[in-house]
Symmetry: C2
Subunit: 406 residues, 2 copies
Amino acid sequence: MDERIRRYARLAIRAGIHLQQGQELVISSPVECAPFTRLLAAEAFACGAGDVTVHWTDEAVTRLRYDHLPVEAFQTVPSWLRELNNGSARRGAAHLSISAGNPEAMKGVDPKKPSAYIAASHRECKEFYDALDMGRNQWCILSVPTQAWADKVFPGDSRAVERLWDAILKAVRADSEDPVAAWEQHRRSFQRRTAWLNGAGLDRLHFQNGLGTDITVGLPEGYRFTGGGDRTVGGVDFFPNMPTEEIFCTPDKNRVDGVVYSALPLNYQGTLIDRFHLRFQGGVVTEAHAETGGDALNALLETDEGARRLGELALIPKQSPLSEMGILFYNTLFDENAACHFALGKGFPECIENGLTMTPEQLEQKGMNDSATHVDFMFGTGDLCVTGFDKKGNAVPVFRDGGWAE
Amino acid sequence: MDERIRRYARLAIRAGIHLQQGQELVISSPVECAPFTRLLAAEAFACGAGDVTVHWTDEAVTRLRYDHLPVEAFQTVPSWLRELNNGSARRGAAHLSISAGNPEAMKGVDPKKPSAYIAASHRECKEFYDALDMGRNQWCILSVPTQAWADKVFPGDSRAVERLWDAILKAVRADSEDPVAAWEQHRRSFQRRTAWLNGAGLDRLHFQNGLGTDITVGLPEGYRFTGGGDRTVGGVDFFPNMPTEEIFCTPDKNRVDGVVYSALPLNYQGTLIDRFHLRFQGGVVTEAHAETGGDALNALLETDEGARRLGELALIPKQSPLSEMGILFYNTLFDENAACHFALGKGFPECIENGLTMTPEQLEQKGMNDSATHVDFMFGTGDLCVTGFDKKGNAVPVFRDGGWAE
């Protein structure tokens, strides 16, 4: 076993999840990732885990269910899984999830089925999602290679798995001597940048580039740009995503106007949606067109009312390591950290001052969007220009030529 | 994929489980067995399964929990697993379980922990176990190779997995042209033999061989030797074990007297118990001695009161295919079908006339043993002599020189 991989497992438990003495850990893992998941479990027990439960998943079996069962079968969550998710959340468990899907595993599946399942899952596992979304329990999503995924990223290369490992370990800084320290430094650099944005008194951001994007996105009163890490309401620092290069905020769901053009394909539930644009008016998508995967785009927009509004805006300079690697991972966790993006769907309460202690009604009043879904799509390009404006219309340059203006 | 393996998956679903149109299937599978489990799931859907749920398991994670958590952690079953087992049993799901453990995976584990867990599991998942034990839902245990298991059976052989596949496929008759038909014939040959035993009006069996075994085992009134297959109360034929070569009965728990010597080592929760004997008086073990693994033997006997009494006697002639292969599989499913054996622990209601419709009290009155555990141990040898006696003391030869006497 590569020493970097052991360091990565250690990093995931100690910095990503930041597991506390006696705390329970739930790991969602594809069956193919068993060797790494065992390392995570061993590291968790070495940190004094109260218990470790692995929720094993398998795309091939999921695919068989999608192919053979009617949409009704996906309108509810199996009772045992509801109990696993909500029960562990109630006990304060941290949740680590391994994202390692074959980007084509769900190709051709009727998109109504996964959409129904996502909606059911958020409805029936509300205690679980609330515990993560409202900052009660730590969570972390990270990746390890699987053969099918590696073959998609590096087609025809017999060393595909090895190359994907190299790329992931580099992206998560596990190739350094002391990755836990490297992530602490990473956290501090984000803190400096978010402090600047949050002190700038912005009312809205305007995005423009050569693809045709020309859109203004309002920011809620008391907006909080966040990035590089998170903190539970109990004060435990953790990293929800590894890697993470983005500084993000939750938009005002009612003040989005203009048009945005995709810069990279979006892999949604196994279908590639490519060369698409969305037009917004008063916060709502009023026009959507994709040259490829239009049906999947429409299914996404029809998940629920909130799926037609924005829940995230994220800034990533073209100088980030992932941008520089120039690899298309076909996995949001990596690709979203390579380019500026928006997300359709649920917003982030932690991106509004005191948002984590607000009721859903208060959050709505602040302009935070709600939805069962949250899907990122990339629009950032090397020529992207982002300008902030305060309430009086004074301009603050944020991005110039795809990188930070300051 | 070897065509025999596809036939095996087909056999498991169509004959082993005999899945009914619209019926739900739960598969318990080690993560290493994913390729075969996917074949099973595909075959189940091809048979019209109402749903397929895989309960993935991993010995390495289980082992970490045993090593790091106190015995109290194993005195209860996680609520999600209780819901998975009992909930699916209530819905009438069939249950297929893959037994493919590394025989040494639990070596050195404090035997109190797995014992506590087995007891908790039978207590808290009672609906699940009752549905199987009382013949409401079909179930089937079968095996596929894993690397660790194959390395134990064929040490130092680079073709170990392939050789274990060959042995398993031969043992389950999946190497024939039409395995489903081969199993129908197998069922009929068992029916002839059990009809003879059940018509012989036996009161008890006496076992004797050169190792020192000299023991008399009483049979309950209305005893029913069974073997080669089972039938649910709803009339669905299935095979609970693949392979199966045994004809078995449930003893009268109060009428076991004498001594039995083990003929093969017993792998109990990862510990090998070898060269042991048990002395019975009035049905209860009054003396137990093992040259190896005595602590594990004692832990087994202390599981509960019923663990000190017999729940099964099984007859397998030395001419059976598994006996002839002469491979020590370190797995009860195979090794129990290679030699005559007894089991400590829970008896079989289906081995008493109308037993499946009796209350626990009625079964106890008939002499059926009850326990949270059921552990087979082999005592059959090439010189084993088994003689039946009716109530008047008339002798009926059953086994001579390790094979059927008739």
